[in-house]
Structure formats: C-alpha cells, structure tokens
C-alpha cells in the first residue's frame, strides 16, 4: 500500500513572466514516513502537493513512486489521496457512501463498497455516523470522515493540504493524535502541507522549508529546529533569536560573549548570526552558576501556560542585543528584573548573515543565497540582521510577534 515518494527537479511556472510557483524541488520521502512542507503563503508548498497528486502538470521535473515516474499518469491512476483544508464530502452521499466512493468507482457493488468502507469509518471513530449526511456533522467530524475516505482508497501516498488548519486547537490536537494512530496501523507515506511549524514538528519525521517556490532546507524534524540552514529558515520555523557576531575557531563572539558552537555546526570564520530557539533558552537567576549571559527583562508576555520573555543583554562594550526566551510554568519574572540566560550548546547554531544583496555572490552556501532572493515582504517582516539593538517597539518587531501568534488561530 505504501510507497517511497521522490520528487526530482520539479518546477511549475505561473506564466506571465512571474517567478515560478515552484522551482527545482528535490525531495525524498521514504515509504511509511511523514514529510511536512512548511512555508509562508505563496511559497509553493500547495503547488508541490498538487503536482505530486497530478492535479497540475509540472513544467519541469519528475515525480517518482517507488522509483517509477507517475508524471504521465492522470490523478486517478497514481494511487495518491489528498485531504484538503475543507472536507469536501460529497453532499449527495451519506457518510458511509462518501467513504465507499473509491470502491464504488473501482467497480464494487454498493453493498460491497459500504462493507469495505465501514472499518475505515471505525478507524476514525466515526462508526456511529454511517447514515448521516455531511451537512449534519461538525467540522471536526467532517474532516475525520474525509480522512477515512482518503484512507479507504488505500493510497500509496497520503497528501494533507492544510487538512487541520480550519479546526480549533483542541480538535486539531485530536486530529494529530488520530494521525499518529493511523500511521501506526496503516503506515502510509504522508506528505502534509502546513504553515504551522508546530504542527510540522508534532506530526512529521522530516520537514522541508519552502519559500518563494524554492526549497530552503529539508531535514530531520528533530534537528531542523536546532540546525536551521539560514536565518530565513529559522524565522520560518518560528525561531526568534538572531544574534549577530563573528565566528572565530568554532566560537561565536557577540554581545552575549563567547559561545562554543556544537561540533556539527560547520561555519567558516567571519561574520555569523547565532541562532537559538526561544524554547531552548534557560532563564535563571542573575548570578546563577553556568549562566552564559545576564540581562534585563524588557517584556513579559503570556504564551499559553508559558511566558515569553524578552531580555536585553548589554555587552561590556555597550552593544545591546535582545534574547527571546520561554519560561516554564511557575517561573515568575517581572519587567526590569535582572536575569541570567543559559544557552545549551546543543541547541545553538550559527549561520552566515544574509542581509545585503551585495554580499550574495560571496556566500558559498547556495541555500543561503536562495534565501537572499526572498520577496521583499519577508525581509521587512523582521529587523535587519546587523542591527543588534532590536527594540520591541521597532517597526519589525510586532510583525514578527504576529507571525508567531498566527499559529494559535
């Protein structure tokens, strides 16, 4: 049932001389694994999914299932199912007939198709709703049925296009749990598109970050958050800490002081931006042993059960830098309080800066160069990297906070 998916140099043009919707995408998804495509709107992630499904025809490149090209096949013969953001249950069929649709079009009798569909409805815990009409279900129930319908087609690859985006938080988490269970039972190869990096982290084995139609980075879901290939990737995955500085001999020097980089972070000596997830920053007392830096709390914001802190660190030389941190529930901090910061060395990473276009030819890493060609809006969305003293009231800062806050909606 399940198959390995490979995408080779896949491209799709917008036409009208615009930048391509998707350009030179290469991806490998091993059989039974789950890949998340993450990126902002217009990054080409949905286009990638539609090209794999056969709903659009690529202008370049190939899609392989178990090593065989399926580009010439119509969607119905690819063995690829998709769940869209809207459930799209056929309104003229009851719930069980919806799930039985794939068997019906494959030529089964209605009775046989319904019998074969029933277990899939049970699988998504909708077994008691067989004769309901789609309009009589709630949004979450409809999406469960849509998932059962997609699985009942016994796809070689299951595609989820923002399938859980329209659901509220609790329902979304239910669906995540359900997907985990389904993966354990059916082991389908899954490609999911989401703009929610937290969802990607919760569901996927590997994460591919797209922007402007190009793949910026594809890596293991556990590592991509701590080892983003560029500042852009870090931002797209919700990372908020960017500390400009210099790398000298495997050590990052900045307003935060000298920080030893993990051995697997290979960055050449010279200007580099230190990246560390706000979730990884440990806030301690100002004089706690092992603190890498000390600073003043500028802002405290509730972030669910946790608190999001903005801490300003001023170096002995007078350069200021802001560090974002999330504290555990129970820890209480107030504005103006002096705190210590610990940056676990396994969680920090450094990448070459990507500010001015003039530097672009000198940057060896192609991924970073690609990121430099991002649409203007993304550049504006966060403060320029060399500007160390980023204030929360600076024009860029609230935008980034919004971007971060989007995921709760």
């Amino acid at each position: 049932m399940t198959a390995a998916l490979a995408v080779r140099n896949l491209g799709r043009d917008h036409g009208g001389g615009q930048a391509p919707a998707l350009d030179g995408l290469n991806l490998d998804v091993p059989a039974g694994s789950c890949l998340a495509l993450v990126g902002p709107s217009g990054s080409g992630k949905t286009t990638a999914l539609r090209l794999v499904a056969g709903l659009e025809v690529p202008d370049r490149g190939d899609v392989l299932l178990d090593g065989r090209s399926v580009v010439a096949l119509p969607p119905e013969r690819r063995g690829v199912s998709m769940v869209f953001q809207r459930p799209l249950l056929f309104p003229h069929l009851d719930v069980l007939d919806n799930v039985a649709f794939s068997a019906r079009v494959a030529g089964a009798s209605r009775r046989a198709a319904r019998a074969a569909a029933a277990p899939f409805l049970d699988l998504v815990q909708m077994g008691g709703y067989t004769t309901r009409r789609p309009g009589q279900l709630s949004g979450g129930q409809e999406q469960r049925v849509a998932l059962a319908r997609a699985l009942a087609a016994r796809p070689r690859v299951l595609l989820l296009d923002e399938a859980f985006t329209g659901l509220d938080v609790a329902l979304r988490e239910d669906m995540h749990e359900l997907l985990h269970q389904l993966r354990a039972v059916l082991e389908p190869t899954v490609v999911l598109v989401t703009h929610d990096h937290a969802e990607a982290a919760a569901l996927a084995d590997s994460v591919a970050v797209l922007s402007g139609g190009r793949l910026l980075q594809h890596g293991d879901a556990g590592r991509i958050y701590t080892r983003p290939a560029s500042v852009t990737v870090s931002r797209l995955l919700g990372g908020r800490n960017e500390v400009p500085g210099v790398v000298v001999g495997g050590e990052h020097r900045s307003a935060l002081g000298r920080l030893r980089l993990p051995t697997d972070v290979a960055v050449p000596d010279g200007p580099a931006v230190l990246l560390v997830r706000q979730e990884a920053v440990v806030v301690t007392g100002p004089d706690a042993p092992g603190a890498d830096a000390a600073g003043t709390v500028l802002a405290v914001r509730a972030a669910g059960a946790r608190r999001a802190l903005t801490v300003e660190v001023v170096s002995p030389g007078g350069a200021a830098v802001q560090v974002h941190a999330e504290t555990s529930p129970g820890q209480v901090f107030t504005r103006g309080e002096r705190v210590g910061l610990r940056l676990p060395s396994s969680a920090v990473s450094a990448v070459p800066p990507e500010d001015a276009g003039t530097e672009e030819p000198e940057i060896a890493d192609r991924r970073t160069a690609d990121a430099g060609r991002m649409p203007r809006t993304h550049r504006v969305a966060s403060p320029a990297v060399p500007d160390a003293g980023v204030r929360p009231d600076a024009p860029g800062a609230p935008r980034r906070r919004n971007h971060h806050g989007d995921h709760g909606t």
């Binding site: 499904a53 709903l55 119509p74 309104p91 079009v105 309009g135």
Partner: protein, 288 residues
C-alpha cells in the same frame, strides 16, 4: 415580514408570521375558488352566490373538445423544449461561469434578450421567415420556444455553476474516479437540483405557450393553451374553461411536488440551490 421573522421567538412574532403566511396562501388560492365552482357547475347565473345546478357537463364538454390529445401535445411540447433547452442552457452557463467566452457580457445579454423582447413582435416576422425556409411548423415551434426558454435555463444554471466547487471533482479524481465517473457520480448529482429547476422552467415555457404556437404553428398544432383560449373566446363555455384551466395546473404542480420531494431527500447538503428557489421565477412564465 422581516420584523415578524426577527422576532421569531416571541409569540406575537409567530402570530404575525402565521398571519402573513395565511394571507399569502389565501391570495394564491382565492382565484381558484370560482374555477373549482365553475368546473362542478351546470348552471350558475349572475345574481346567485353558488351554482344553481351541479354536474359534470363541463368535463364531458372539455373531453369532446379534444382536451386529452391537446393535453398530451402540450406535455410533449413542454418535454421537448425542456429536453433541448436544459442541456443547451447548461453548456452556455458553464462557458459563461468559467469565463470560456469572449465578450461574455454581450453573450449573456443576447441569451437573455428573448425575455426582454415582446414575443409577439419577434414571432410575427419569424413566422414568415420560417414558412419561406419551409421549416415544418412543429420544428419551428419547438425551435422558437427553445430560444424563449434558454434565458431561464441559462440563468438558473449559471448561478449553479458559479457556486459549483470544482474541488469536489479533484477530490473524486484522487479517489480513483475517471473523468467519466466524475461526471456521473459527482457533477451531475451536485448540479441535479439546478438542472431540475431549469428543466422545470423550460417545460413551463412549452407548456404554457400560446403566441408562438399560434403564429409559428399556424393553428395546426392544437395545444392545451390554444384549446383554453378558443373555449374562453366563446360565450357560455365557463364550465369548460374552468375544467381546462384547472387541469392545466396539474403538470406544473406535479413537477413541483416531485422536485420538492427529491429536494427533501437531499436536504443536508450545503451550497445546493433548492428547487423552490429555482422555481421562483416560474410564476412569471405562467403569467406570460
């Protein structure tokens, strides 16, 4: 009326709504009362409130006048117009809704023109043309009525196509349906209510037409409206006219009930135009 609906929860509001509905029903049914009485009357002269003698003379007179074959002819005519105008309207609507037509405003204006133009004026010239072109009368009548019905079918189906979500078809393809299967199992069922509404309107155009049948058909094609008109133009035929008029309501009524029943069965689906909504302009056609 809106006020009554807004205050739906209050007893006063509900009473108001009932009152409005009741008077609407009365308004529709009241004109039928004299017809029903006449259909069962054998003698009913001026000052009397009710007929002086009851009987079925009207019915036998109507049968003698050839009501049954005329009824059948009109049924066939309506069916033929619906059978041609519905798919043709669907094609036009699809092309217009999906932007496949250049100068789509002009095309829609042309398609809707038969509603705006007085049929009498158009048909008066057409009958000469069709006669000279040696087009058989029946073919001519059907062809002109199809043109008259196209605005209605196109309009109803255009609205349906505009609201039609092709994502359903994409989903069906990904579930293994061939384009043919998508047509039968997805597109047709989803558009069925609108198609039924359009076909109903087209049927009404054929069923209730008088002018085109008279002028293009040259009086040789005796349909139900022709029979009614000829009976109504005579004196002392009130009972026959009443019988014919009442029976002429039956086919549209039956179709409406049929559409309503299938609409009820399919209720629960969203974004589907209800047959009742599609049938709303029907009265206008009947009046015409």
């Amino acid at each position: 009326m809106t006020g009554g609906r807004r205050a739906g929860g209050q007893p006063g509001g509900r009473a108001g709504a009932v009152l409005v509905r009741g008077s609407l029903l009365l308004w529709f049914l009241l004109p039928l009362v004299p017809l029903v009485l006449w259909a069962a009357a054998e003698r009913w002269s001026a000052p009397a409130v009710l007929p002086q003698r009851w009987g079925t003379a009207g019915w036998s007179a109507a049968a003698e006048a050839g009501a049954a074959p005329a009824f059948a002819r009109s049924l066939l005519l309506g069916a033929a117009v619906a059978a041609i105008a519905t798919p043709a309207g669907a094609l036009a609507a699809r092309a217009l809704a999906h932007g496949l037509v250049h100068r789509s405003r002009l095309v829609s204006a042309l398609l809707l023109a038969p509603v705006a133009l007085p049929p009498f004026a158009v048909v008066m010239g057409l009958n000469v043309l069709l006669l000279r072109a040696r087009v058989p009368a029946l073919v001519g009548v059907v062809a002109v009525l199809v043109v008259a019905a196209l605005p209605y079918t196109t309009y109803v189906l255009r609205v349906a196509y505009a609201g039609y979500d092709t994502s359903y078809e994409e989903e069906a393809r990904l579930l293994g349906a061939t384009p043919r299967a998508v047509w039968w199992r997805v597109r047709l069922p989803l558009l069925a209510p609108a198609l039924a509404g359009a076909a109903f309107l087209a049927f009404l155009v054929g069923w209730s037409d008088y002018i085109v049948t008279v002028l293009i058909g040259g009086g040789r094609l005796v349909t139900y409206p022709l029979l009614i008109a000829s009976a109504a133009s005579g004196v002392g035929n009130e009972a026959v006219v009443a019988v014919l008029s009442l029976t002429s309501l039956l086919p549209p009524l039956a179709l409406l009930l049929l559409a309503g029943a299938s609409g009820l069965r399919g209720r629960g689906g969203r974004g589907r135009p209800s047959p009742a909504a599609a049938a709303a302009p029907a009265r206008e056609v009947v009046v015409r």
